[in-house]
Amino acid sequence: MGTQIKDVIIKPDAPSSLLLDKHADYIAAYGSKKDDYEYTLSEYLRMSGIYWGLTVMDLMDQLHRMNRQEIVDFIKSCQHECGGISASIGHDPHLLYTLSAVQILCLYGSVDEIDVDKVVEYVKGLQQEDGSFAGDKWGEIDTRFSFCAVATLSLLGKMDAINVDKAIEFVLSCMNFDGGFGCRPGSESHAGQIYCCTGFLSLTGQLHQLNADLLGWWLCERQLPSGGLNGRPEKLPDVCYSWWVLASLKIIGRIHWIDKAKLRGFILACQDEETGGFADRPGDMVDPFHTLFGVAGLSLLGDDQIKAVNPVLCMPEDVLQRIGLQPDLLS
């Protein structure tokens, strides 16, 4: 008896070259289907959806095709009295969408369109006594929100608004036996949370606290024979993990520990040749989320048709240079 490795098989006729024009058309058209049922169902995450779409367009140097004014107006109408920003109009503010909104405004170089001081107050108000962050006033605690908080504040240049030492202490208390991180102290390691926590430690200048060799080993063991990466042991590969795992490896200076050519092959096979866009796995339905992380993953792998992406903030490097933000990476 033995464990079957969970993986996918890439068919010989799967796409093997990058279809940038199709992806740009797919994203440009996505926002125009506003009466679509699926689109309406995903309203609760609209702000992040816009961030995914705009970031991938910017990485492909196609940002000009999106309607800047409409988007900036939309963000302004999503900022609440408390300073927080919601996914859409009528929804409640949350750290997740506050970060997405700030990221979008950074892409457009128009952070001043919203009340920045209030955003800072909102983020600050969500820090708990133990240093952790609640996602909103309803108190869900997660290391994702620690990342959202410091990422938002770094982009706004206001990191000193929070108790950074306590925030660090909390994130470090979530470190596990395998060197990875989970949602809360005691939670199992997960590549998405590891990305958030390594990103957090980069932004707070604490990468030396990681056990980088141990964590890097766990991360490079996410690569499966198909070349794709999974997010936890014994799980299927997924394009979004080519971002979470790869970005984490890049942050800890060990991106060369995976087989780049095989991963590139897997990501390319997840493209849809007809519609454009990327799916989680070859042959599945595409969406903007996987399209961003597919393209961003290829950028980290060094594809020169795509702009360089920053592994900590998942934004184009040129945007961060404009802001003057350069998060730490281990060498």
Partner: protein, 582 residues
């Protein structure tokens, strides 16, 4: 959108689907708008509960609707008596159960369940625990459910040993259960601490996070450790390809932490400089590092060896000019690390140009953070077992790697040859990760070379022709005067290289070096040989300009020698160099 297979459809099917979706959209939008307008009007009634229920059943990630429900429930609390409130919340739990059945991975549903459980007038934690049991029996890797379980366990004071038994059961039915192994790694140290502090048999609800198995020194008593080894061996003998048990085993084998201390103080008369090495990276500017010279506190400015490091294991400072440069004087130096209440002394005797004070390094002290040395006999018998498995499974990568780790814990130098052979096999059977194995092997070879250097009591570090792909442990080389890295696969001399504060001669011929960032402010460096590397432009040599004593530089066989005007550019960049070989 995860795991949704794309299906080919005909035009007619497409049209039917479109109509169906249009209908669903209308119903959905109407319900959503009704919810939003009720909420805007401040309505907190049962009808609103119904409406949100309808929407959340199909879309549990619509977080704002859970918020609305909480507002309604909190309002109901104020107008109903305790029994009624209990009933309302019980109904909420039933509704949540149906949501979780449809979508067991919704953050919103699980968080709402935690919220409700915490507000229930008479909580029934055993019911919550059995819900977790059922949920985990359907998917033993659902991390939302595991997290909820941990909350229930904490709130209701389930004893740690009961939870350990629970993982026994899950692992017994399926060894390949990373979540259970993970849970054990958090439970074991609580139940069987090695320290004399009494174990708490029952964990009370607490606000501060439990210590992490990584950041805290977690030791397990030996008896439990032996049992644990047996359990893991059962797992990997049953299924040698299951990574879960191997990850856990590596943790079990290597839990020790290096003590935080000042590992070395070095003082140089000529440069009037002090260098301090720590057992882990610190920020000397913020940890309270004080220097006392001959009883007088000194105002010095600590800096890391390279501007890239805010945290570093090696820090340096310059003494005021004229303080120690008279060779006929004796000086006594003390470095205090106030944060850790520790210090280290160093005496600079008359006639001496330099001095240092440090622990005599041995293998056990130096590198045990990678793998703790339990009783040798225990590790020896572990190695025997894993070797047996390897005979059955000669190409099993997990087995090979574990053998290497055990050999290193037992006798790193004695097993060097076998270790190298196993690395070779590893790279062949798991070629996707060959770069990882190369780096790990480099690290072990560097450790071995440091050990050999220590035993020989010399300041020469020589590691040529070993396929090194990376440099590490450079903080251990603070006192090295000669380094030979020739004939390896190095691509760079990283910023950490600047920790070699005493370096006089650097040989790194026949590598692939293109970046010299770390050859920075090495004030004693006189000779650098970089033959046959990949240095391509004079600008790549810029860091060398900070090494004021550099006299001899050999760049033969590098692309840079082909660039026009290289000689005049280099003589301008490196005026101290009198012996330039191109």
């Amino acid at each position: 959108m995860h795991g949704r297979v794309k299906v080919k459809t005909t035009a007619q099917q497409e049209e039917e689907k479109r109509k169906e979706r249009e209908k669903k959209l209308k119903i959905y939008v109407a319900a959503r708008d009704a919810c939003f307008s009720k909420r805007t009007d401040g309505v907190l009634d049962e009808e609103a509960l119904q409406l949100t229920q309808q929407l959340l059943s199909s879309n549990p990630d619509f977080a704002t609707l859970w918020n609305y429900r909480r507002e309604i429930l909190m309002h109901q609390e104020t107008i109903k008596d305790e029994d009624e409130v209990q009933n309302i919340y019980e109904a909420e739990l039933l509704f949540l159960e149906s949501c979780l059945k449809v979508n067991p991975k919704s953050y919103g549903s699980w968080h709402h369940r935690s919220w409700v459980s915490a507000r229930l007038p008479r909580p029934d934690w055993s019911r919550e625990l059995s819900l977790c049991d059922r949920c985990l029996s359907l998917d033993d890797r659902n991390f939302h459910c595991w997290d909820y379980r941990r909350m229930v366990v904490r709130m209701s004071g389930v004893p740690v040993d009961k939870e350990l038994e629970f993982t026994d059961r899950l692992i017994g039915s399926n060894f390949s259960n990373y979540s259970s192994w993970h849970y054990r790694s958090t439970l074991l140290p609580l139940l069987h601490p090695e320290s004399p502090e009494p174990p708490s048999p029952c964990r009370q609800p607490q606000s501060s996070p439990p210590p992490s198995p990584q950041t805290q020194s977690h030791r397990v008593c030996e008896e439990q450790l032996l049992k644990e080894y047996e359990l893991v061996q059962n797992a990997f003998f049953t299924d040698p390809n299951d990574q879960s048990a191997w990850f856990y085993y590596r943790w079990l084998l290597g839990r020790a932490e290096r003590e935080e201390m000042i590992s070395c103080v070095y003082v140089s008369r000529e440069e009037e400089r002090v260098a301090v090495a720590f057992s882990r990276p610190v920020n000397a500017q913020s940890v309270g590092l004080f220097l006392v010279l001959d009883g007088q506190p000194q105002r010095v400015e600590w800096r890391s060896v390279h501007p890239r490091f805010k945290q570093s294991p090696v820090w340096i400072c310059d003494l005021p000019p004229g303080t120690i440069n008279d060779i006929s004087n004796e000086h006594n130096l003390t470095v205090h690390w106030t944060e850790k209440h520790t210090h280290r002394d160093c005496a600079l005797y008359t006639g001496r140009t330099e001095s240092w004070c440090r622990d005599t390094a041995t293998d056990q002290e130096l590198f045990r953070s990678e793998l703790s040395v339990e009783k040798t006999s225990v590790l020896q018998s572990e190695l025997q077992s894993v070797n047996q498995l390897q005979e059955l499974e000669p190409l099993n990568k997990w087995c090979l790697l574990t053998i290497i780790l055990l050999m290193r814990a037992l006798d790193p130098l004695g097993y060097e040859k076998e270790t190298l052979a196993h690395f070779q096999t590893l790279k062949e059977v798991d070629s996707m990760r060959s770069a990882y194995y190369n780096d790990l092997c480099s690290k072990f070879m560097i450790e071995n070379t440091i050990l050999k250097m220590e035993y020989a009591e010399v300041r020469v570090f020589s590691i040529s022709d070993r396929n090194l792909t990376t440099l590490c442990h450079l903080d251990q080389l603070l006192l090295v005067t000669h380094i030979n890295l020739s004939s390896n696969q190095l691509q760079r001399l990283p910023p950490q290289f600047a920790m070699l504060q005493c370096l006089e001669v650097l040989e790194a011929d026949n590598n692939c070096i293109e970046n010299l960032e770390g050859v920075y402010h090495l004030l004693r460096l006189e000779e650098v040989s970089l033959r046959n590397n990949k240095i391509s432009t004079p600008a790549d040599l810029k860091p060398l300009a900070s090494c004021r004593k550099l006299k001899r530089l050999d760049l033969r066989g590098n692309p840079v020698t082909q660039s026009p005007d290289v000689e005049s550019e280099l003589s301008e960049l490196l005026p101290s160099v009198t012996d330039l070989l191109l």
